[in-house]
């Protein structure tokens, strides 16, 4: 079965720096990769989607990449702020099935 792996260790960075979160998938390349943000005690909120044939997608301070050779997606937040502190979920779409990663906690310190 397909699996999505994200760093289980929290990522701690200084305000103003670029945060980079990693998502690795096993076996087959998904048709889409999505990133969601989840705050404590809340439901996830959709941020970005990238298609298999796209290399990179941007939205404001966010950037996501899709590397089918490395079987990896990177999620970047530039000029990070304390308000960006949250858990970020990577989600792969295989047909009509979504596979969720467990998420990586990001902490941005001022």
């Amino acid at each position: 079965s397909q699996k999505i792996e994200q760093n289980s260790e929290a990522l701690n960075i200084q305000e103003g720096k670029t945060a980079t979160l990693t998502c690795n998938y096993t076996n087959y390349s998904p048709a889409y990769l999505q990133w969601y943000r989840q705050d404590p005690g809340r439901g996830p909120v959709f941020l970005l989607l990238i298609r298999e044939n796209e290399k990179e997608k941007r939205k404001e301070r966010l950037k996501v990449t899709f590397d089918t050779t490395l079987k990896q997606s990177l999620f970047h937040i530039t000029a990070s702020q304390p308000a960006d502190s949250a858990t970020y979920l990577c989600v792969a779409t295989y047909g009509n099935k979504l596979v969720f990663g467990a998420g990586t906690i990001l902490r941005v310190k001022s």
Binding site: P44, F46, T93, L98
Partner: protein, 113 residues
């Protein structure tokens, strides 16, 4: 402001009780989903529905059932709650033709004693 709402934020029930979790969306979405989220694990799909009265099993349907009598409302039922069903339950919706870009509710933290 579009939204998905869930009937309770916190719920405490006893083993063997029948539990109803309700979800309502105001976006006229065809697809609705129920997930559970446990520490260290990704969200796992319990059931989803692509239309009124239609339902499909997800990855972990055992011990659960669902009901969708109206387009905007999707209910999750625990027929006889057990302690291993203690979890965060999340409802989501998406428009017809796509399971991507789902809109999630705030979640219900269920504790079964």
């Amino acid at each position: 402001d579009v939204k998905v709402t869930q009937s309770s934020r916190y719920l405490v029930k006893r083993t063997g009780e029948k539990v109803f979790l309700e979800c309502v969306q105001d976006m006229d979405h065809e697809n609705m989903f129920w997930y559970r989220q446990d520490p260290g694990l990704g969200l796992r799909l319990i059931y989803f529905s692509y239309d009124v009265k239609m339902k499909e099993k997800g990855d972990i349907p055992e011990g659960y059932s669902v009901s969708r009598e109206k387009k905007e409302r999707f209910s999750l039922i625990l027929e006889s709650a057990s302690t291993n069903q203690t979890s965060m339950y999340l409802c989501a919706s998406s428009p017809q033709g796509s399971y991507n870009e789902q809109f999630f509710g705030p979640g219900t933290r269920l504790t079964v004693l």
